[in-house]
């Protein structure tokens, strides 16, 4: 069972580093683009940073399905399982 809290905290750190959005704002129900004001190039950076942090690969055709922070947590947990 993956640790969702740890995954969320790591994603929050990445989003904060790249966009400046406060870590506390990064919660599972938030949409990267609509709620966190992440633009398309920043989203590319976030995806690549997640690949590095979690030691996984997120193919381009999958990364566009990661609409919310929760989508990213689920994908990362499945990829790590």
């Amino acid at each position: 069972m993956a640790d969702n809290t740890k995954t969320l905290a790591d994603i929050a750190d990445i989003v904060n580093d790249i966009t400046g959005v406060d870590q506390a704002e990064v919660t599972p129900e938030k949409s990267f683009i609509d709620d966190l004001d992440v633009d398309s190039l920043s989203m590319v950076e976030i995806v690549y940073a997640c690949e590095e942090r979690f030691g996984i690969e997120i193919p381009d055709d999958k990364s566009k399905d990661l609409k919310t922070v929760g989508d990213a947590i689920d994908f990362i947990n499945a990829a790590q399982a």
């Binding site: 580093d17 790249i18 966009t19 400046g20 190039l41 590319v44 950076e45 690549y48 690949e51 590095e52």
Partner: protein, 424 residues
Amino acid sequence: MSDVVITGFGATTPLGGDAPTTWEGLVAGRNGVHTLTEDWAADLPVHFAAEAVDDPTNHIPHPKARRMDRSSQLAIVAAEEAWADAGLELPHDADGEPVDNGIDPERLVVCCATGIGGLHSLLGQWDIQKDRGFRRVSPFTIPMLMANAPAANVGLLVNAKAGVHTPVSACASSSEAISLGLDQIHLGRADIAVVGGTEAVIHPLPVAAFSQMQALSKRNDDPEHASRPWDADRDGFVLGEGAAVLVIETIEHARARGARIYGTLAGAGISADSHDLVQPDPTGAGQASAMHKALVAADLSPTDINHVNAHATSTPQGDLAEAHSIRTTLGAAADQVLVNGTKSMTGHLLGGAGALETFASVMALLRRQVPGTINIEHLEEDLPINVVRKTTALPDGDLAALNNSFGFGGHNVTLAFTNANATR
């Protein structure tokens, strides 16, 4: 034509993180050249340089700073200082909401030069691609490395809509940027301009490459005394980094908003040697032509000139050629002109040099103090110019100065300044 006056200065340099500290360093004869502490430096033929002393990322929010090359970061720090020094508010608040600062964006132009561009980003991302594959390359690589990035970032900062320009002419770049800004105002395309230049190329490749050209001083055992224009034992320039930016505007625009004025940007002269890609024309004809054109544009005669901030990079041929071209231009009047080489303190900022030396020239007129040229132990014999070695006072009354900038490629730019209209 309206007088164009200087109303704001910003600088982040090897002598200080802002313009006032940089000026104090120049007047005090402080040295900005040191041995590099980076691991890569020891193996190179030259292991010293004049690094910008204040980390620009301390002044820029992290998400913005990480998408800028160091050259843009330095430019932004200097531009923010210059804009505030001109008594202007930024056109947006901390949350990005618009602020009416009284400046018409359609009448505001930016000309911010670099000699080389975003070299750390270019080579740093190439290292990442080689080591870790293309998927690790930043999607911001191109907007970080492009040579117009500093100008574009400054344009965004101040909301310039009349045009954003990046002259690239090696070590003459930022003087050309200042000249271009003056042109834009004279052509009626703008009332106010943010002009200057930046450079950040203290990286193993340029150090190796300039060294291979035999352009750099190799005084590794005594770097603090390596930059010594017109000294008989000079052996090349010292690589520097930093940025300098000024705000210029028509006298009417400045007065209407109650701006305080440093002095007048009286004219510019530009020429090209068309002699050799890197060697200056040994006759100095191109350099003299640029100086002569600047005098004509500024409606000044040689006897009006009190001070020349020379290009004076501390190379064996360059310093001598410039001394003769100054003499050719000013004639007997050159005996009374105080000539200095401030690169003795700051190193050579390449695309930032002309703007930094514009700052030094205008402040010299305003404060009536010409900073000395440090590190001269044995002045070259029979120089046809009056080299200032210690900070020296200028007389009362009307004053005028020239600032020379010459670049690889045979680019020659001279800017002319007076203390007319000064209210600081």
